[in-house]
Amino acid sequence: MVEALEGSQALARAVVLCRPGVVAAYPITPQTHIVENISKLVADGVAKLELVSVESEFSAASVAMGAAAAGSRAYTASASQGILLMAEVLFNIAGLRIPLVMHCANRAIGAPLNIWNDQSDSMAVRDAGWIQIYCADNQEAIDSTVQAYRIAERTELPVMVCVDGFTLTHTLEPLEMPSQEQVDGYLPSYRYARSLNVRHPISQGTLVGPDVFPEARHSHHQALLNSIAEIESANADWAAVSGRDGGGLLTVEGDPDAEIGILAIGSTIGTLAEAMDEYPDRPRVRLIKLRVYRPFPINALREACRGLRKLAVIERAFSAGMGGIVGTEVRASVPGVEVYNYAIGLGGRDIPLGIYPRILDAMETGDTGFRILDVDLSKLPEEDR
């Protein structure tokens, strides 16, 4: 049944449908509505779970980690500074191979203080060893949440479902919530092989020296690479259950034969797709939505880029002093394709449909250097331009 739901409200319901035993979170804009909605579902008796309202994001991640280690499905959510505060725990959770799911309501990182949407937060922890899924819309975010638990528990890898803050979390749109039966049928009850259990005591998180550490890291890397198959099957199986396919690793739309492509990540993709229609005098491009960023789907990407001459990678974060993050990785992955790389929409700057011709024009210049495409240099003193 289609309902009119705010993104956060829908995500809260999706989380509860997955029957977590423990939810721990600390409020931060724009994640707050998700946790508020879960709290209300608990207060109303709809959700039977232990809600732990902690004193920091650091503890939010730690409580969720402890709960998952002790044998309960667990959940947390955060954004921006909160992601950075929990960064140490995020690495730890992944290193311990604990199957946890969290939402990142993507938001810029200060200074300067900014509460609006970009993806600097989740990009900053891309090396934490988590699976990262970026959602183009709220329907995909709901479906990805359910899939995330299955992926996490089958691969023993934590999954971060990234949802553009405000742009998705605070947008009301028609959404289809899965039924409890659908979710229960798809997602078996939580099972974690290394659960803490007084009958079978084990020690987790031991000291590992140089004699085994590289092997531990290798196995983590390998697990992430191997998770690609699990991510694809999780999506396919969920599509069979729900009738909705949010795309596995990535999806391609627009003109499949175009020699010019644009790759984007997160909610920007919808705006670009409509912009192609709004500018009929401009060429249609091959539009690639990168849904799974970690593990980096290099083979699928090469396949999607086959026959492309030029590709613009559009992202909502960058590495100061270097340039694009996704763009740099894409460039390294698709030899033979001229890769252009732009950041847009930083700190919540509106991404209008007009960004589409701007991207195409910028690609015309042949200058493949990274740029913040929508920067207004006139706002800066001469020496900073």
Partner: protein
């Protein structure tokens, strides 16, 4: 696609108004999208929210820069820079005001309807919250959606006495403005990929 911008002040239920409008469209089996111009504003500060209604899925996430209509919850906001910016030529403005429509049309340079939503809300709800009355008045003027769709959206959000009062409010509000006079100002419905 019809695009709306709702201007109000923090605490006036601006976001709720936008959500209700989009929810009403979804009730009518159409596509609706609503979101606030996210800010860090506190109570009383000028705020805005956006609504899109269409017959095809809405995928764009940009703010509404060129609205077909404006709903302004407080007449004083007409003087706030940017409130009228981008309104399409011939686009309509619905203002919560005790002023006359003629005077405000002259002032804004656009067809403007003045409607005392605060008083009506006070009468029905006992609270001076203009948002629901304005939505009903807007639907009556534009016939973008039937009033029943708004009633449906309200009944998803409210219950009991509060719902009853709101339903009588929107019925009353719809009668207070000249029905259908903005109907011709709507852009032709688009077709998929059109």
């Amino acid at each position: 696609m019809i695009e709306l911008r709702i201007h109000g002040r923090g605490g006036q239920g601006n976001v709720v108004a936008a959500y209700l409008m989009a929810a009403a469209a979804i009730k009518e089996q159409r596509y609706g999208q609503a979101f606030p111009a996210f800010g860090a504003e506190r109570r009383g500060a000028p705020v805005q929210a956006f609504v899109r209604i269409a017959d095809v899925p809405i995928r764009r996430r940009s703010q509404v820069a060129e609205p077909d209509f404006l709903i302004v919850q407080d007449q004083a906001l007409l003087h706030v820079p940017g409130v009228l910016v981008g309104l399409r030529r011939g686009g309509g403005i619905l203002v919560n005001s005790i002023d006359s429509s003629e005077h405000l049309s002259e002032q804004t340079g656009h067809p403007t309807i003045a409607f005392n939503a605060t008083a009506l809300a006070q009468r029905h709800l006992g609270r001076p919250v203009p948002n629901t009355a304005l939505l009903a008045a807007f639907l009556s003027l534009s016939e973008v959606l039937p009033i029943g769709a708004l009633a449906g959206a309200l009944s998803d959000r409210f219950k009991g006495k509060v719902l009853e009062k709101n339903l009588s409010l929107i019925e009353d509000a719809a009668q207070q403005v000249p029905g259908g006079i903005w109907k011709t100002m709507r852009r032709a419905p688009e077709v998929a990929n059109g």
